[in-house]
Subunit: 457 residues, 2 copies
């Protein structure tokens, strides 16, 4: 573990450097406030403020705290004015719940985020207002030993590919990692505890609830429930998907049995050649469909949930039409991709329609199908006593079902639906290889075809 | 109804003729007993003895009643000696629970059945001993009005293709029809009552049980439970399959709503030409497999249950191997046929293996598959949190699965297994048309492809 820590912990020089840059940014922000006559103050938050950043990370989060009394519009106007003044031409405006400014500054990725300076966490007006409270809560409790434990956990999460609360990953945020280490006291103790987790586990560091039943009811369906110590109405694990949750639990189980460096530093995934991809597609014997289109101009946190919504909508449509979707995935780089792997691209024309149970009248069921041109056989009674018609399937070709579903924009997510409306292409089977000229697509397809938990690579 | 009855009821001349032949057979049997010095007496039973035979039926059942004291061997020896003496060269020995002799005699199909002459029905030694008791029970209660009602019911059953307790049909016996009419008082009242039946219905004419719970427990899984008035331990409806039961109930429901001659005299099924069969197979888009072999030399009551057992075993094997069996059927004439219709004859090579739930250790599951040559991808966690391997399917071709299953004789029923062991052929898809040179096979395939409840033809 010491060796792992040595690799991931910033050197004193690294830390000195970050501190210098952060201090400079704080000073610049305060200066900008003075210059513009805006009543606000800068605060360093996040891992940079808590010595919990990995050596490879280069993020600095500066929050601009404005008075509670301001209207939302004023907050945004004044906050952005300060941020723009600091960033100058380097700045780029983004939008999460609030607008904020990002910039590249002396080799760091800097976020300048306006928020309300609210004394009581229970009175916060938006998610970003919580960050200063998180900062104070963690800073007060995290000893330098615990800082190191957080670094180990973050690297472990990173190795398992579940580090990061952004919606592309749906994993564990830095703050969540810190809370878990604070709660369990060490990385190893957390690993032992998490080996026993099952979906719906409740962790309530400040005992904000009398028992687990209440938070479990409030956050129903969320696999990991970690009550925010500064705001009991919030689940810090809300972003963690079932997939990330289960991956982390499996990693802990496997690590507890047989620890190893491979959990922290797994081998990189294999990049397949176009030929290998072609061979593997043929070997699987399935039919892959890939829907491609120009991604809409929105941040990944907006794009990925919509891509997954579209993936889900297409999968549901295909399944309802009788097709078996073996697996699917989405990705977006220079083009957006929805990959759908089908057991078969064509189904038999005949389809069985089963009638109501014996005690229920069948007049309507029979009337509907008896004289239909789509009828193949029936009505007859099968060996289990059910009344059956065999009729012609509405659509026996997956491509047609897919095209139809892609025409129904509303189920695909707003921006993705619009983007698909502007045009898309469907690649089928071997043709997908053509897409692999794009390196990023080849990487995506390689990862799809060789998918494996990182520590088993 | 009067018109129906007119068509199905034997004329006085018909009845006179049957009576003459039956009397002659009784006399011959009694004479044979005297001649052979065997203490026994002949008894006419069944529909011929009760005026409940349809004009188209030509069956005479003569039972040879022997003393209780005889051993089973003696009963068979003496009984068969009498039967052989009566039948002479015309006779043919068959075997159900006991051996018996059948013959064609003056245009009638005659059964000569030895049985014990047992006073109390509760002491009978085998199923055939019950027939004299059934005869006495029904004869005493059936008025000539009720005889006509039985005729209507039998024709209705016949129209619905559920008349006959033989195991090829698994339908309603003549005795069962008589009991139902006795119990409900008329054909129409039975139809009304049966429209409300659901599987597990109990009819207990002599109130042999205090409530329905007990017989329902004893005869669990049997859709129709009619307590035998002469032996409460027996379900007269035991032979009725779920399919026949549901067909009869649907016929009653439909008839109650809109009565018609078509229920009693449905149109015959359409016989398709070879060309039509070919076109329909193509239109369905499925793959039909037909296993053919020489039928073993056993009576239909032995053969059909075994054919169905084999059909079920093959269906189960294919389903377990991942194939979707759309429908199946069996038939035996000059050759035995097992028909299996598959949605697809080939599956993708890749197959998903899902691991245990999150709280269960996965070491063994991972060890089994991780280094396997059959591995395509995995282990990875899917969106529902399950651990998954993608591996190579053991057998992606239905024909191979079928061949393998046909090699395991024990699951196919004794005689059918042996017959298949002596050789079989598999016809696939279009090749099935070749079988249709045999008229009986063409009839079977036609019926399969156009299957429909008779009254909807």
């Amino acid at each position: 573990m010491k060796l792992i820590l040595k690799q991931v912990k910033p050197t004193p020089a690294d830390r000195e450097r970050l501190k210098r840059v952060a201090t400079e940014l704080i000073e610049r922000t305060d200066a900008a406030c003075s210059k513009l006559g805006i009543e606000a103050k800068a605060m360093l938050v996040g891992s940079a403020a808590r010595n919990t950043w990995l050596r490879t990370e280069r993020d600095i989060d500066i929050f601009i705290l404005l008075p509670e009394g301001l209207s939302r519009e004023e907050l945004e106007r004044q906050g952005l004015a300060v941020a723009r003044e600091v960033a100058g031409k380097r700045g780029k405006e983004s939008f999460a719940e609030h607008p904020y400014v990002t910039m590249r500054f002396k080799d760091f990725d800097v976020d300048l985020v306006p928020c309300y300076n609210i004394a009581k966490p229970s009175e916060i007006r938006s998610a970003v207002d919580r960050s200063p409270h998180h900062q104070r809560y963690v800073k007060k409790r995290l000893t330098s030993r615990l800082e190191d434990e957080v670094l180990l956990l973050k690297q472990f999460m990173s190795g398992a590919e579940v580090y990061g609360a952004e919606l592309r990953v749906q994993g564990f945020s830095g703050y969540l990692c810190e809370l878990l280490v604070l709660h369990y006291g060490s990385f190893r103790k957390l690993v032992e505890a998490a080996s026993q987790w099952s979906p719906g586990v409740v962790i309530d560091p400040e005992r904000s609830y009398a028992d687990e039943a209440e938070p479990r009811a409030i956050f129903e369906g969320q696999p990991l429930i970690v009550i925010d110590p500064v705001d009991a109405s919030r689940n810090v694990g809300a972003a963690v998907s079932m997939q990330s949750f289960a991956t982390f639990v499996r990693a802990c189980q496997n690590f507890a049995q047989e620890p190893g460096k491979r959990f922290f530093f797994p081998r990189p995934g294999r990049r397949l050649s176009t030929k290998e991809i072609q061979a593997m597609l043929e070997r699987r014997g399935t039919t892959l469909f890939c829907v491609t289109f120009s991604p809409p101009d929105v941040v990944p946190d907006v794009l990925y949930p919509q891509l997954r919504k579209a993936e889900q909508a297409l999968t549901t449509r295909l399944t309802r039409a009788g097709f078996e979707v073996v697996r699917s995935d989405v990705r977006s780089n220079s083009q957006a991709l929805i990959l759908l792997e089908l057991a078969a691209a064509e189904l038999p024309r005949v389809r069985t329609r089963v009638g109501p149970p014996i005690s229920i009248e069948v007049g309507d069921f029979i009337k509907t199908h008896l004289k239909s041109r789509r009828k193949f056989a029936g009505p007859f009674v099968d060996t289990t006593g059910r009344l059956v018609f065999e009729i012609e399937r509405e659509q026996a070709r997956a491509r047609k079902v897919l095209e139809q579903a892609l025409g129904e924009r509303t189920t695909l997510g707003k921006h993705v639906g619009e983007a698909i409306g502007r045009g898309y292409q469907i690649y089928k089977g071997e043709n997908i290889v053509k897409l692999c000229k794009d390196e990023k697509v080849r990487e995506f397809i390689s990862e799809y075809l060789t998918r494996c938990l990182p520590w088993y690579r």
